[in-house]
Symmetry: C2
Subunit: 133 residues, 2 copies
């Protein structure tokens, strides 16, 4: 995918920082925190400011090309995938897995007459790899 083009398509001017931040999100797919993104990119972009990372992610969210994952109280994570999907966090190794689920099953009867804008499913436990160790 052409990142500059993807940003432009969503009404975001493709500055150097924006391209790098989106590239990191998109390629790593590791649901990073702001701090993770900053620490990784400041090597390549020595003048990078954490404020820029915050500003940029907020812009990406406004424009609909990034979503947040708030599976923990004390940290917000970011995801280049914006389609409805859930997340599993392993309490042993800390890895976060994307999980699909049938959206209809979750949109329960109780919400008849409600307008649903967003659904987040967060599952915690131990992952396959940690269990077989």
């Amino acid at each position: 995918m052409n990142i500059a083009h993807h940003l432009s398509e969503h009404d975001i001017k493709p500055s150097y920082q924006r391209i790098k931040i989106y590239e990191y999100l998109y390629k790593e797919m590791n649901h990073p925190t702001v701090d993770t993104i900053y620490k990784k990119l400041v090597g390549e972009i020595p003048t990078l400011s954490k404020t820029t990372v915050y500003n940029t992610l907020k812009l990406f969210i406004d424009k609909g090309i990034t979503s947040t994952v708030t599976i923990e109280d004390n940290e917000v994570r970011y995801d280049a995938i914006v389609d409805a999907h859930g997340h599993f966090k392993c309490i042993s190794c800390g890895a976060i897995y994307d999980i699909k689920y049938d959206f209809k099953d979750v949109a329960m009867n109780e919400l008849k007459g409600f307008e649903v804008k967003e659904t987040q499913v967060h599952v915690k436990g131990k992952c396959n790899q940690c269990l077989t160790k």
Copy 2:
């Protein structure tokens, strides 16, 4: 329900503060934040400290009689219901509704071989009341 007894049963000494905090959680069922609890109870208990509210809720969670609701990034809410259930937050009036869902539908095939400890379902949108206004 006898709150002192309920606390004792779960290995929590029923101090005045603990009883009042649990009572608030249990009776109001409004998924309050620490600040909400503090502001409400400090009228009745003028010496109450916010630290006590934090300590007490942490204890309740450890002992399994309270759960957290992290439907927003910037605030943790608390719930006296600990059975698996989801939450709907209205983006218009801010109210939080409890919602049941069929747990099996959410525990997806992808998590075969994983050990699931906890599932949270968070839905945001507009509630019935706000829509019909």
